[in-house]
Symmetry: C2
Subunit: 187 residues, 2 copies
DNA sequence: CCCAAATCTAAACGATTGTTTAGATATTTA
DNA sequence: TAAATATCTAAACAATCGTTTAGATTTGGG
């Protein structure tokens, strides 16, 4: 054995995640990451392999952060009302975690939409289809809805969620609340 | 007098605009611009001053491209129905102009949301408030709506338009159509 | 026809990008 | 305590970024 590490991966990755969340992948440099993570390039590379590996790990970190509100949604039993609450939770979590805007996954989805990075695109698709399936499940608790209606509404909510994440980067809290309320008027 | 220029600014700027539209500002390099515009760096700099100047000019070029559907919206007289048509037109124009995704202005709005580039942010704010005012005007053609309702619905539509532009980069035509239809269900 | 000026090509600029390496420092174990 | 080794700092790496410059080429007017 030898010298001890002066940091914990699980701790420094959080700061990396916040930085990526705020600036996106390309606009976050190794220099900024050094500063924010509090360790230097050598340590980053020995722990995470590359900037790309660090980003993937940041996405996992983000996933674990939002796992709570996903579990809450899954375990709730008020159908559409739970989805609405999930929308509110999604916006709230950004201001709780250091006033970050939007959703890291949605930001990434947009930034990589023209990219050929299939590792990351796959991560995104898994997330989106999971979310869609949960929406479908919740919508199905209302037995009066036809399968077609459910699918259409699930698509609508998925885009609304995507749009909300994008818009929440530049709009006020009031505007966002109005948007969520109006969105669920249509369901 | 002396040698003649072998290109026209109005022509090459279009290709620059398409490239920015596709990749965003930061992810478009001068090298890519040289290739796509068909002129070299010297010419770009002598015509547009800098990458930043070129981008601003691209935004103006984009504005003139979408002017048509804005004028159409302004001059129409079917109230909300016209806004809906405007949503469809906004999506369509991307596929018409070389299968580009989303809206250059919205993409820019997102990319520069954390930036301190006030020249560009101002350009964005002017665009957004213009759009909002048009929405308000159209909504007001229905005299039964209270001022509060109109403002709330205008905010909703503005975010919906923003979200639509973001989502249209990654979603299918069918999903987008469903989204627009659902959006206007209760307006 | 030749000089002046504008536009071209292409190389070089310094700064920054992500990544690697050399060497000093600290810790564990035998 | 000494040898082994993991982790640190800090410099250097090649590649690319946006930008500038030097020099060749083309054009028009006197």
């Amino acid at each position: 054995m030898a010298r001890k590490k002066e940091y914990k991966e699980e701790e420094v990755i959080e700061n990396a995640m916040y930085l990526f969340w705020q600036n996106g992948y390309e606009n976050t440099s190794m220099k900024m990451l050094e500063q924010e993570m509090g360790i230097n390039k050598f340590s980053i590379y020995s722990s995470f392999g590359s900037k790309h590996g660090l980003f993937l790990e940041s996405l996992k970190c983000y996933n674990s952060k939002i796992k709570k509100i996903f579990e809450k949604l899954k375990n709730a039993s008020n159908g559409v009302e739970d989805i609405k609450e999930f929308f509110y939770d999604s916006v709230k979590i950004g201001s709780q975690l250091g006033n970050k805007k939007g959703c890291l996954l949605t930001n990434t989805y947009n930034e990589f939409s023209e990219s050929e990075d299939f590792l990351i695109k796959n991560e995104m698709n898994v997330f989106m289809s999971n979310l869609k399936n949960i929406f479908i499940e919740k919508l199905n608790t209302d037995a009066s809805k036809s399968e077609e209606t459910v699918l259409k509404q699930a698509n609508f909510l998925l885009l609304a969620k995507h749009g909300l994440a994008a818009a929440s980067r530049v709009n006020t809290k009031k505007e966002i609340e109005d948007y969520i309320e109006m969105t669920f008027k249509n369901i």
